[in-house]
Symmetry: C2
Subunit: 252 residues, 2 copies
């Protein structure tokens, strides 16, 4: 029998700029009686990472451009927020139905360049995506190793909508210690056939699994431990491996 | 502390047409010492459901149309397989890069109308999607209730690629007993703000979570139990609630 556990992390204090997030995570896991173990996968929602890294913008200090004002109005959006979204984007991929889908400077395609108006203290304050989410994940991973001696994988997650399907799911925008895609080419299935399904986006599946404890809590659960999953290890993986190049995408 | 368990289901025999899948699942859970409990979510990969329902096609008995032959050739595909894909589709959504993305008669948009050449015994045999995956899920759910007295939710999962992102994930194509989307509009977050993220595709996240035990096993694990997740109940949910209508989709 193979069993995987998804353990929600409660008791993390409100994270502020400069906080040692890895240390806060380790303390919270100790406190709730689920100390980190070798082989754990730590999934952290990007907002707490962004906050620890000071990737916070006060909209009162943003002067919207004419273009931002023009596109904010029909969307019923805050022009300062649209300005931040534009600044965080490399290009606009789609506009319509009150949505602004952009390509971020990292290469992710998502609504509003991933700028998050929820979960940030202060009415007119927003959280941007971390500058380099893989580096953020690696930093947390190394600090956890230093503090606990455990080798873990770290995933930084974000909530994304998606083409074709309704509802949002959590996906991985930063990874450290694991390959985001499990390559199953050449593996055989139950009947000995070579598998048609070739590459599984396990980092996205792990982020979605973590959302089940992160999203259902009444109190704040900004992180989760996934325990018992044998992940393919990597020391140089990048979450952008999960982004399909535009020129290979039938839907762009 | 909130913890969710994902328990892989081993020891399920090779399913054949007419088998009582619910009964086989209950027996397998008993045998491995994880009997079904109230509130469990049972995730079953569609191939075993299709097999139990006889949704199997022998490609040797399929006469490909001229159109199927014409589009099979540049793709290096079996014309009989393409013929089955076309028969199972309502329309072709995209063609290119050796891929055939169709809308199935149920309304799902996926590669090859969900026709599966893996995990089916017999070299030239393929599995179609179940005729009505919600009804299949409901049937399994009711039979589990009859056999065990437990009220569970059932998800029938399939492996899908997706626009924008590399790698495949598992998603829900049939549901029974739970709402596929958790509606969080009006809920407040950690700081008391009304959540920007409004609707979470929990059935897809649960299917992805289940894939973690289904996909990593050396032996066949065609089903999983997810335990400890408080899902929103429903007696008339449909997995097609997860399909974005074409006219509202910026990427179609």
């Amino acid at each position: 029998m193979s069993t995987i556990q998804i353990i929600g992390l409660k008791g993390l204090p409100i994270v502020k700029e400069g906080d040692n997030l890895a240390k806060l995570i380790c303390e919270a896991t100790e406190k709730q009686g689920t100390p980190i173990r070798n082989g754990d996968i730590i999934v952290v929602t990007h907002v707490v990472v962004s906050r620890a890294e000071g990737k916070i913008v006060n909209l009162d200090e943003v002067k919207p451009s004419e273009f931002a004002k023009k596109i904010a109005e029909p969307y019923g959006k805050d022009p300062a927020l649209v300005e931040v979204v534009l600044r965080e984007s490399k290009s606009i991929v789609r506009m319509g139905y009150g949505k602004l889908i952009t390509e971020t400077k990292h290469g992710f395609v998502c609504a509003n360049s991933g700028v998050d108006i929820s979960n940030v203290p202060g009415e007119r304050v927003v959280a941007l995506l971390p500058e380099d989410p893989d580096a953020s994940a690696q930093k947390i991973r190394e600090e956890i190793r230093r503090l606990t001696g455990c080798d873990v994988a770290v995933i930084i997650s974000d909530t994304h909508g998606r083409p074709l399907r309704e509802g949002e799911i959590n996906i991985a925008i930063g990874v450290a210690g694991l390959k985001p895609i499990r390559d199953r080419r050449g593996e055989k299935d139950l009947f000995g056939y070579v598998l048609r399904v070739k590459q599984t986006a396990i980092a996205d599946e792990l982020a979605s699994a973590a959302e089940l404890v992160i999203g259902q809590a009444d109190e704040g659960v900004p992180a989760a431990i996934i325990r018992g999953y044998q992940y393919p290890k990597s020391e140089n993986a990048k979450a952008t491996e999960l982004v399909r190049p535009k020129e290979k995408d039938l839907f762009r």
